[in-house]
Structures are given as C-alpha cells and as structure tokens.
Amino acid sequence: MIDKFVRTMADAMQGIADGSTVLIAGFGDVGHPRALIDGLVEHGARDLTLVVNSGGRAVREARGIVRLLEAGQVRKLICSFVRAASLAGELVQSGKLELEIVPQGTLAERLRAAGAGIPAFYTPTGAGTKVGEGKEARTVAGRDCILEYALPGDVALIEAWRADRWGNLTFRDTGRNFNPIMAMAAKRTIVQTQHVAELGALDPETVITPGIFVHRVLHVPYEQAGWTA
C-alpha cells in the first residue's frame, strides 16, 4: 500500500542535507508552509539556498523564513523582492547573506521549467535592465531577450488544503500560488496539509497537484480557532 503520510516532523525533515536548495512556497502568509519551516529550523540543516517569493516583512516577527535567517542556516536567498528594513535586507547589507533578485514571473517560469525538463529559456522580462546584466542576450522575433535557467530544488516545502495517501493535493483560494510548480521542481517534495482525504475522496477534476510530484505528507491542522472551511 502506498502511504506518503509521515507521522512526525522529524520524519518529514529526515535526510535534508546541509547545502540543499530549498523551495518554499507561499505568497504572503497564504499557502506558506510555516510548520515545515519551523521543522527545518529544528532539523538544523545549514548552508541552505532558499527560493521564496519574498525576503520577509519589514516588521520582524520570528516566524517563517525569518527563523531560518535568524538561526544562520541560510547562505543564499533567491527571491523577487527584499525590503531594506527586513532581516534579509539587513543581512544582505552586512554581507552575511547572498542575494539573487529574480523578477516574479521569471522566478515562476524558472521553477516551471525545472519541473518540465526545460533547461533554459529566453524571455523579454529584464532585458535592458540590471536583471539582464551578464546574461546571454538574443533578439527573438524582433524582441530583445535574455537567457534564464531552470531553477530546480533539492527539497520543496508545500502547503496543501487536502491531501490523500498517494500525495494528491488540492489548495485553497490564493493558497495555490507557487505550491504546484515548486512541488514539480524538487527532487523531494514535502507537504503539510490542513485536511486528510481518504483515497478516492478527492474529485479527480479538482486535484491540482497529482501525487507523482509528492514524496511526504504531514497532517498539520491550523491552530487558528474559529475559522474552518
């Protein structure tokens, strides 16, 4: 019987090596696997490269990727923006964190390409700007383009709304965001899910991420009382 559910956070994190590239889904707090991030802090892997949409809030709270940054586990951050007043911004300015800024659509497409077996692609986004500096350039169909490479992960941390034991996933509202493409782009995809579904209970028409892209699932119901589906 296939059962991708793991029982403990330690089981979910098992084997994440120092130096890993970790894809962390979410946009704002929505679809952001906060429990798994806490698990990664506990697990203690170091020298990590994080791929995440945002470098974190200006108002610093010890949650989400800020905890990984505070613990000194991160060597490099790949994201679409950083606020100067955030912890990530301060670490970059003091030379303690490497930063690669990627336009958000290029970030999404580099992840999609990694999952789809496309090693690189040309895009007009960033051509003629600082983002294009040092990159291979080419005019395609009359438009200036730059070459961008696929961005695969060793690990992806995903938040789902419902999951079954094969790893089929659904997402809630804008909680979908980077989750499906990051799930496809990593060697090992680890999911926290709000709800557990019996195999066969998810309507095949509504499965957004099929289990082929998922390796481990941990059931993590939100503590937030007073808000249920």
Binding site: V92, G105, T129, T174
Partner: protein, 223 residues
C-alpha cells in the same frame, strides 16, 4: 470653469478616477501597487472589467468588510479581497503566463520616472538600493499589451519625473504607452510625448516647464 482653480493638480484618487474612465468593458487588467490600486475603486461595478492579481486570481473584487475577510483570499499586496462572479484561480506560473504571454489588455503601474522613449523605472531609487523590489513589475511592464503609468507629475521637491532618459534603474525599455499624471494625460508617440489632456487652466508652456521630455501639443486640446 466649474469653479476649478486654474491649473490645480489632481489628487491621487482623482488621477486614478481619470484613468478608470478610459478602461473599456471586457478588458483584463492588472493594477500595480500604490495609486494604481485606487483605479479599481473607480470602475463602476456594472462595467465588467476583469482584474488580475499576480498571486493567481482572475476576477478579483473589492475588499470585504473586515469581519467577512477570507484569510486564504488575498491580492498581490497581501490585502484581503473578494471574488466577482465568474472568477477563477491559477497557480503562479499560469498567472505569469497571463502576464508574459501578452494576454492582459492593460497593466497600470506607478513609477519613479518615465522617459520619452517609453522606458520606465519603478523598482529601486538607486543602483545600489538595499531594498530591491522588483516583484512582478518587470514581467508586467514587458508582457502586457499596453502599460499605462499613473504618477504625480513631479517629485515632492518639484523635479521632473517625465524625463529624457531614466536615471533610476530600469524596469523595462520602451514599454509605456500612456501616462496619467496630476497635471496631464500624455501619449507616447514615435515622435515624442503628445499632450492628450491637461487640467483646466494649465498652459502647455507651464506643463513643459515641469517636464524634462519635450512635449508635443495635442490635437485641439492644447495650445
């Protein structure tokens, strides 16, 4: 002149309302952060304009009353929003395929500077800005069918924002089609920026005086 003071600049909401008048029914539109976000409030609900949000929404509606907020439904500024009937969700790669594939009829962006060649600068205030905030701006500026900019005509210190060449880091080259400012509406043409409209009482000479790029008089509505 309807009691309007001579050459009075429009406020942020007024610029947004002016732009909103020009969005026709049926367009798919992305609104950037800042003044652009205000544009949505000035499109009447009966005019079916479909708003896209980068985090994966087509058919976004206005903010809900706080007690009805759905924690899982936010826009690209992380504010709670609602869905209109007919709305849909997509994941991030598809959301940016909407942007980069040229499917948006319009993207409205704020800017620090726009140049007379259509270049736009809106993500950093210097070349070593410690808080680089590209987000989706480069994809939107390069990908939408048309880009309209909304901004104050000059900086708070009175320096022109509409310039010959941008000095701030570029977001995209030759991207802007039209600019709505506190003083005027300007169209990008192959020859130069053409004045489409000015606030009542303003002369072309006065507008030119606070604009670095050379302006062409519009057809009939400027002197």
């Amino acid at each position: 002149m309807d009691g309007v003071m001579s050459g009075r600049p429009l406020g942020r909401a007024e610029i947004a309302a002016r732009l909103a008048r020009d969005i026709p029914e049926g367009w798919y539109v992305n609104l950037g952060i800042g003044i652009p976000t205000l544009v949505g409030e000035h499109v009447p609900r009966e005019r079916e304009v479909i708003f896209h949000s980068e985090n994966g929404v087509l058919g976004m509606g206005p903010a809900p009353p706080p007690e009805q907020a759905n924690p899982w439904l936010i826009n690209a500024s992380s504010q709670h929003v609602t869905l209109r009937r007919g709305a849909s969700y997509v994941h991030h790669a598809d959301s940016f395929a909407v942007v980069r594939g040229g499917h948006l009829d319009l993207c409205v962006l704020g800017a620090y500077q726009v140049a007379e060649n259509g270049d736009i600068a809106n993500w950093a205030r210097s070349h070593d800005d410690p808080g680089p905030q590209i987000g989706g701006a480069m994809d939107l500026a390069a990908g939408a069918k048309r880009v309209w900019v909304v901004m104050e005509h000059t900086t708070k210190q009175g320096a022109p924002r509409i310039v010959r060449r941008c000095t701030y880091p570029l977001t995209a080259t030759a991207a802007v089609a039209r600019i709505y400012t506190s003083l005027a509406v300007l169209d990008m043409t192959p020859a130069a920026l053409r004045v489409r409209e000015m606030v009542p009482g303003l002369t072309l000479a006065a507008l030119q005086a606070c604009t670095e790029a050379t302006l062409l008089a519009g057809d009939g509505d400027a002197r």
